[in-house]
Amino acid sequence: MADHVGDASKIVYMPGDFVENVKVSEKTSKAILGPGLKQDGDTVMVTKPGLLRHKEPNIYWIDCHSRRYVPVRGESVIGIVCAKAGDVFRVDIGGSEQASLSYLSFESATKRNRPDVKVGDIVYAKLLVANKDMEPELVCIDSTGRSSGMGVIGRNGGFLYKCSLNLIRKILSTNCPLLSRLGKQIPFETTVGMNGLIYVRARTTVQTITIINAIAASEYMDNDQIISMCKKLADTFTMVQ
């Protein structure tokens, strides 16, 4: 099996491969295995196809391209309210089952003061419970009881776009210039859910579509290409206006 030390970012690992020379922490002599890796006796086995990533000192995971979301605790997601069932809302977050969202887990919601949520609304929420054996549970408040940006979004128009999970991780990474560059040219508001949904609202519909197209096109671009695309967009937009 190929060694990951050296030019590791180019090697594709397939399910069934073994990762060798896994660095362990000096204190605990443990390594942290992320998605796509599994311990198999004394070895580390790959379970998903993709590129091996390593973060010093001892964190490993497989960077895999997939479109289906598997809920992870603590991640922020965008969901669509599908039904009201007693004191919870059923929210579709793209996972294998619908998540539940209690009406009490909104800012300043009480038993008497119910939040204004309708079927079909889009909510930005955090996963409080995400376990393979249990139904995922969402909340729209943080631990201090504040909404901190979460709650119902998209009441004033805008567009919800579904893309691959890899693109989401890419545009949310700190070294990706896409959103900040686009924002310089066209003012817009956006919400990005880790489950592959992006909500965008700009001043006009044309601008919203432009932003969505730019995001969709950036999936297979590197940073230089993204910057040049944003420049081109700016030029065309100033010409039109």
Binding site: P15, T47, H65, R68, D133
Partner: protein, 221 residues
């Protein structure tokens, strides 16, 4: 959109394999695989919601639907579905997503021999594209024994029809162990062993092809 090709080197090797991945927009994973003129299109959804009746509390339910080129599926098609389903269940990490389903749809495009093998290989590629957790990959190779008792690996449809026995083997990538064997016709024990060895050797090139296809898919980023 991705095309990968595999050139055959020595004799007794597989026909040209070509694969296009992620060309369907709705499914979580999809692949169209050519093996010579044989062509299969597969889509994978998963892990998704599962019907109450089929829900398993400790493992993923794998459902395979086979769509023939024309007409309704009959017994033979149902049997093929079963074979593919059991083969896939063997390599998938079943307990990673309990109470969910993985739906695989296999569409026949062109059957020009070695069809079962192509179906299984296409399923494996679609599962790889969907990024579903697996213990290992699987490769199926078909061979037939003609009337002069020659063994032909990856035969065409004509060769299959004129043969006395057709054997299909599916191997895992780890130890090249047999996952599935499907045989039709009359053959001796020695012939079976000989076919097994030939197919096992040929499976290497299928595994190599999988790796190349994934490398090409991931090289875009």
């Amino acid at each position: 959109m991705k095309m990968s090709e595999q050139k055959s080197g020595s004799q007794n090797v597989l026909r040209l394999m070509v694969c296009e991945m992620a060309h369907l927009s709705r499914p979580d994973g999809s692949a169209t695989t050519f093996q010579g003129d044989t062509c299969v299109m597969t889509s994978v959804y998963g892990p998704t919601e599962v019907r109450m009746a089929k829900e398993q509390i400790d493992r993923t339910t794998v459902e395979v639907v086979y769509k023939p080129k024309s007409g309704l599926p009959s017994c033979a098609e149902k049997s093929l579905e079963n074979i593919i389903c059991n083969t896939c269940e063997n390599i998938l990490l079943g307990n990673a997503h309990p109470r969910s389903a993985i739906n695989i749809t296999v569409q026949e495009v062109q059957d020009s021999g070695s069809f079962t093998a192509c179906c299984i290989n296409c399923c494996c590629l679609a599962l790889l594209d969907a990024g579903i957790g697996m213990k290992c990959t699987m490769a199926a190779v078909n061979c037939c024994i003609d009337n002069e008792e020659n063994i032909i690996v990856d035969p065409t449809r004509k060769e299959e029809e004129q043969s006395q026995a057709v054997l299909t083997f599916a191997f895992d990538s780890k130890d090249k162990n047999i996952i599935t064997v499907i045989t039709k016709g009359k053959y001796s024990q020695q012939q079976f062993q000989k076919c097994l060895v030939l197919c096992r050797d040929a499976s290497d090139s299928v595994f190599k092809f999988y790796r190349e296809t994934m490398e090409k898919k991931l090289s875009k980023t």
